[in-house]
């Protein structure tokens, strides 16, 4: 009744009528305080003085919050690194850091007052760029190495060698709903916090930690987020913590909703990387060895940078057998906002460099880049182990790539592109197929667990709760489908409820694409527990074995007895059968030794491939995506419409990262692109003019995941690497594909024109 169907998003009716409630839409409570944060204007400085007298006496101000107001611990770092203060104490470490907050009777009053603060700084040397950071050796943790043999020797002994550097920019999440939280006081110092977060349990624990109170004093609830993309995994905690602090200090409800500019300067973004690559290969283009030196700008604190950079290392192979690999990863501290989780979580940057290598090998050998990619795919004798020692057992990349190349007519279109370029001097086209293999599971092992709570009421209606959060991906819809399927009832009989730390405790973040995998299984188990009780009861009533009780089409059938689901539930209740259960799931069979970067960190891999065809203007560097064809593997899709939505959306978001989205920090470390007027995410016309998306029909998870489906949240973002490769291909046509263009991401008009100019050795036509 539920699985494998295009059930619309459970909130779609509310979205289109404006009735879906986000935090800033909640009714204004009596005495509600509105908060505004005072931000640092310096990248690295000692705070000489903070004069808040004028702020305090401004109209409507109820109180001011600084680090001195924090009862216990001034930290909201997600991994206990202790380097994410709520408010700066004596130094600021990035421009945009929170120094104080104002609580006032209106938002206008809070903002008016905040502007009156006088803060004196003494500037300290700031480490802003990756060059600065490498020079300062400002590593946040020791450089990590993943190695499976003597890559240097393998490269040296290979027929061909190449090396280069690729720069990859960061990315702002630009969720449409900015960070928001509201805190409401209760009895016994209890706090109820409404937070726009992917990680309610962490928000709960960090608030308790900050206040020096037990976690049971704090309840965190999340009905929905207006987008998150990783940006509300750790970054929501600070916002929620400040509201909790305001409520503790005043006993009044408090709300903090960041405006767009504050959100963009205060909260973290995708890491930007510079990756040096060196590799050896044979005449067919097959790799003998690869050496990578990855440097990531992590910003001012640890946040999740360790795991993110680990994942970059895990994905530097993508779908390819690297042979001998040596991957060095440096995690560098800078005086910029702390970089954080963003859809793909380091994976995209890792894949970018190996795709660059594929394009460059093809260029050196004058081959079709697709042939080079194919010859390097995992598969064949001894070619199925990753650099971290996991065996690739579910490799469908070869057949998926072939199917896509065939269906989208890659070979002919590549010829057409070449013919077009031969007859056009100032407009050039490029085409590329790039694959994706993305490892599914949190690489931090203990996070791979989930809980759910299912109740059936005596009228047969079902209440569903689980530890995952809804950020637009349709998680609640899919999990309701799973539960409806289990009971064989209509999906709309399952009531989806807000994620709540007092219903399902100690949850993991809804992240790593794992929402449905983990919570779907937990919910299924909760439903199965109740279903078993119902079956036992029905079997007893009918005098047949429990195994012979059938749930189908809204009815329950046992021998010659036949109940509607609701009737059976009612009778079971009267017979004192429990109609409520929790469910719990922990991903089996995964293990990982971080000291050697080896093991089986991933339960399985999700695969996909995309062909992008682009056009560039040789005189200005402007570009356009003409056509995209995607074939993506989601296993057996629980909801094809929602899965396609993730693929289309992820792809366009990835294309934005690699083309128009540019984070510009000035020489003082101030972010100059902090609003949509200056930071350009894809608009409607930037979607591919022709956009064909298909699910891999034979897809089926080999592992026992929920209905053999696969995770879909992050992997499609990396399909957009095909856009970058196609742009590279278009630029390469300038000197007849003899040289790989020195193109870097994002490929803005300026970046493209620069690569063209470098190829032509002169600016003018």
């Amino acid at each position: 009744m539920g699985k494998f169907s295009d059930v619309p998003h459970d909130s779609a009716h509310k979205h289109v009528t404006g009735k879906a409630v986000y935090i800033d839409d909640m009714p204004l409570l009596r005495g509600l305080l509105h908060l505004q944060i005072g931000l640092s204007t310096r990248a690295h400085a000692r705070i000489i003085s903070v004069d808040l007298d004028a702020v305090r006496t401004a109209p409507g101000v109820v109180c001011i919050l600084t680090h001195k107001d924090i009862p216990a611990i001034n930290d909201v770092s997600p991994t206990g690194s202790g380097d994410d203060p709520v408010f700066a104490t004596d130094t600021v470490v990035y421009a945009g850091q929170a120094i104080f907050a104002v609580a006032a009777t209106s938002l206008a009053a809070a903002r008016y007052a905040t502007a009156m603060a006088k803060i004196d700084y003494e500037d300290l040397p700031a480490v802003l760029t990756l060059d600065d950071a490498r020079a300062a050796k400002s590593d946040l943790e020791p450089a990590q190495v993943m190695s499976n043999g003597d890559a240097d020797a393998a490269i040296e002994n290979a027929q061909h060698q190449l090396s280069g550097r690729l720069r990859i920019g960061g990315q702002d999440h630009f969720y449409l709903e900015s960070q928001a939280a509201q805190c409401v006081p209760g009895e016994d110092n209890d706090l109820t916090v409404y937070s726009s977060t992917q990680h309610p349990s962490e928000v709960q624990h960090l608030i308790a930690h900050m206040l020096g109170r037990p976690s049971h004093n704090v309840t965190v609830q999340v009905r929905r987020m207006g987008g998150a993309f990783g940006g509300k995994e750790t970054q929501a905690a600070l916002i929620a913590a400040i509201t909790a602090l305001a409520t503790c200090k005043t006993g009044r409800p408090a709300r903090l909703v960041l405006d767009r500019d504050d959100d963009m300067v205060l909260t973290g973004k995708r890491h930007d990387f510079e990756i040096d690559y060196h590799c050896g290969f044979d005449d067919t283009g097959r790799l003998a060895g690869v050496c990578l030196d990855m440097a990531a700008r992590c910003g001012c604190s640890m946040d999740l940078s360790a795991a993110i950079n680990d994942r970059a290392m895990f994905h530097a192979d993508n779908t390819y057998y690297l042979n001998k690999a040596h991957i060095l990863s440096r995690r560098l501290r800078t005086n910029t906002v702390s970089a954080t989780a963003f859809r793909g979580f380091g994976g995209p940057q890792g894949m970018m460099v190996i795709e660059r290598v594929m394009d460059e090998i093809a260029c050196v050998l004058s081959k079709d880049p697709l042939d080079v990619r194919k010859v390097n795919l995992y598969g064949g004798e001894g070619r199925d182990f990753t650099p971290y020692g996991q065996r690739v057992t579910d490799n469908i990349a070869p057949e998926l790539i072939d199917e896509l190349a065939h269906d989208a007519d890659y070979a002919k279109r590549r010829n057409d592109v070449h013919a077009f370029n031969a007859s056009h001097q100032y407009v050039r086209r490029g085409i590329a197929l790039t694959p994706v293999k993305f490892g599914i599971s949190f690489t931090t092992g203990f996070l791979n667990q989930a809980g759910a709570l299912v109740h059936i009421y005596t009228d047969g209606s079902v209440h569903l709760n689980h530890g995952g959060t809804e950020m637009g991906q349709g998680l609640n819809t899919k999990i309701a489908q799973v539960v409806a399927e289990e009971f064989q009832i209509a999906v709309d009989q399952v009531k989806i409820t807000a994620t709540d730390t007092d219903k399902v405790p100690n949850t993991s973040a809804t992240a790593a694409s794992s929402g449905t995998d983990l919570n779907g299984m937990a919910a299924q188990r909760a439903a199965q527990t109740i279903k078993a009780r119902l079956a036992e009861f029905a079997g007893g009533e009918a005098g047949c074995a429990t195994e012979d009780v059938i749930f189908a089409g809204g009815r329950v059938i046992a021998d010659d007895r036949d109940w509607s689901f609701a009737t059976l539930v009612k009778e079971a209740y009267l017979a004192r059968v429990s109609l409520s259960s929790t469910g719990f799931y922990a991903t089996p069979d995964i293990y990982y030794d971080r000291s050697s970067h080896s093991g089986r960190p991933f339960y399985y891999y999700a695969y996909g491939a995309a062909i992008s065809e682009v056009e560039i203007d040789v005189l200005t560097g402007e570009s356009k995506i003409l056509r995209v064809d995607i074939l993506h593997d989601v296993g057996k899709s629980i909801n094809p419409a929602l899965d396609i939505g993730q693929i289309e959306g992820g792809f366009v978001q990835g294309a934005g990262w690699l083309t128009s989205e540019e984070l510009v920090f000035d020489e003082q470390g101030i972010l100059r692109t902090h609003a949509p007027s200056t930071y350009k995410i894809p608009a409607c016309a930037d979607r591919p003019a022709i956009f064909n998306v298909a699910l891999f029909e034979r897809g089926e998870n080999l592992e026992d995941t929920i209905h053999r489906s696969k995770a879909v949240g992050e992997p499609p973002l990396m399909l957009a690497i095909s856009v970058f490769s196609a742009l590279t291909d278009a630029v390469a046509s300038i000197d007849d594909y003899k040289t790989l263009p020195d193109l870097h991401a994002p490929a803005t008009p300026e970046s493209i024109l620069q690569a063209i100019t470098a190829l032509k050795h002169e600016a003018k036509p």
Partner: protein, 478 residues
């Protein structure tokens, strides 16, 4: 006579607000005073479209126009019909726009959705069909970070297939008496005034009386002074109701565009005269911004990166300025004196811009370069107008935006071309001369180096466009 009450209809019901804060935005009023929270705040600068609402006004063409509520001041809605996302469904029956979005999975997180609903709704009210190119235009001002737009496009194409619903009708605009508001700002203690004069004479008198006043047209710039810079504006003169101020009039030798004419209003006439200009206007802001923003405002605010001045300067447009009952007419380029400084006396205002008809045989090109094709601010904008006698250049005007503190002509480059043969060698000289004309700056939109290189290449493109148009075809959307 004057009145102090702003009145309009909201989702069909009459609303009267006495002496509101003149710079209270419609968005804040809807969300805070009316608890209509379907309209969202995404950026407070008119760039994301989450706050899109629709206004109905029989004096506007088209009658129903999408607008960004985040930068629209409440008094400017006086006399109009305002429709928000809450006003579409009737008795639980969803509007076709809403139904189509659900059935095509057009929402994910849902935060941008009300804005998309309203942009599509405005189009639905004005038209009976939609194509891809039009959709790109009407949705350019609505950002979605989840869907990649594909399902929204599918929904938009399907929305006309549903049975026609009963719709909210147009209210008649209140015309009588000048709106005159006064209130004391509770935070700063500043006394704030708002005037909405009805006639040019009234406007001229008022501005003479209050030369420090801020002239308010579409508030696509002034709105941000309030929402972003948090400025307190003491005196606002809203020119939105000045009779005849939004005129777009064909004269014997050109087009007069009143300073109050929105881009939307002037678009068709300009596109007819200069198709390339029509294409440029499609890329200025978004539908919401073009419905509000005025061509006069784009000039009067003196920005170095406004998109209308470069082509207008290249075309030899003139500005008509008025102070009291005196008017004067100047070449547009002379209006821009230096960054932040215009040739405008206190109390003097832009009344209209005159755009001459194309000269016989004139070649004209305008190109805008930005990181994103739609709804982006130019890194640079170049405009070129030329006449030839045989192969000799008899007239050449080249103007750029984004290359200096003001929009300006490239006089050195023009000199390199005027009275010369229209040939590669002179074009190359002119390209080099651009380096003498301009010393652009580096900022978040582009580096100085790129700006100059692209400016030079645009000139080359103008030459190519003339020589071999098929080679110079722009990479454009749609």
């Amino acid at each position: 006579m004057a009145r102090d009450t702003v009145s309009f209809t909201l989702n069909g019901a009459l609303v009267a607000v006495q002496n509101p804060d003149p710079t209270l935005t419609l968005l804040n009023w809807l969300r805070t005073n009316r608890a209509l929270t379907g309209t969202k705040e995404g950026c407070t600068e008119g760039d994301c479209g989450a706050c899109t609402i629709v206004i109905g006004d029989p004096d506007r063409t088209p009658h129903w126009q999408a607008l960004n509520a985040c930068i629209a001041f409440l008094p400017t809605l006086d006399g109009k019909s305002v429709i928000t996302v809450e006003g579409l469904a009737k008795d639980g029956q969803l509007h076709p726009v809403q139904q189509a979005l659900i059935e095509h999975h057009g929402s994910q997180c849902g935060f941008c959705t009300p804005g998309f609903v309203m942009s599509l709704y405005a189009h639905y009210r004005n038209h009976g069909a939609v194509d891809d190119d039009t959709l790109n235009d009407i949705l350019a001002g609505n950002l979605c970070r989840c869907t990649g737009y594909a399902p929204i496009i599918r929904a938009a194409k399907a929305m006309f297939e549903y049975p026609k619903p009963e719709e909210i009708t147009l209210a008649t605009a209140q015309k009588s008496e000048m709106l005159n508001l006064t209130m004391t700002d509770p935070l700063s203690g500043t006394e704030k005034h708002y005037f909405a004069p009805q006639s040019l004479d009234e406007l001229a008198t008022l501005y003479g009386q209050y030369p420090q006043a801020v002239i308010l047209a579409g508030s696509t710039d002034v709105g941000l002074w309030v929402t972003k810079q948090r400025k307190v504006l003491e005196v606002l003169i809203d020119i939105g109701r000045v009779e005849g101020f939004a005129r777009v009039e064909k004269t014997r030798d050109g087009l007069i565009i009143g300073a109050g004419a929105s881009y939307t209003h002037a678009h068709a006439a300009l596109a007819q005269m200069y198709p390339a200009l029509g294409e440029l206007i499609r890329r200025i802001g978004s539908t919401q911004i073009r419905n509000a923003g005025t061509i006069g405002g784009n000039i009067a605010n003196g920005s170095p990166i406004g998109d209308m001045p470069p082509p207008f300067i290249a075309l030899g447009a003139e500005l008509i300025l008025r102070i009291g009952d005196k008017t004067r007419r100047i070449a547009l380029e002379d209006f821009f004196v230096a960054y932040g400084k215009q040739d405008r006396a206190p109390g003097e205002f832009v009344e209209a811009v005159f755009v001459p008809d194309p000269a016989p045989g004139q070649r004209f090109m305008v190109a805008k370069i930005s990181k994103r094709f739609d709804q982006d601010i130019s890194a640079l904008c170049g405009a070129f107008a030329m006449q030839l006698d045989g192969t000799k250049v008899t007239s050449i005007r080249i103007a750029y935006g984004g290359m200096a503190g003001i929009p300006a002509r490239a006089t050195e480059a023009e000199t390199a071309l005027l009275d010369k043969d229209w040939s590669e060698v002179h074009i190359r000289t002119a390209m080099t001369a651009l380096g003498d004309d301009f010393t652009p700056m580096s900022d978040m939109r582009a580096s100085a180096h790129y700006r100059l290189q692209a400016a030079q290449n645009l000139l080359w493109k103008f030459w190519l466009d003339d020589k071999a148009p098929y080679l110079a075809r722009e990479v454009r959307h749609g």
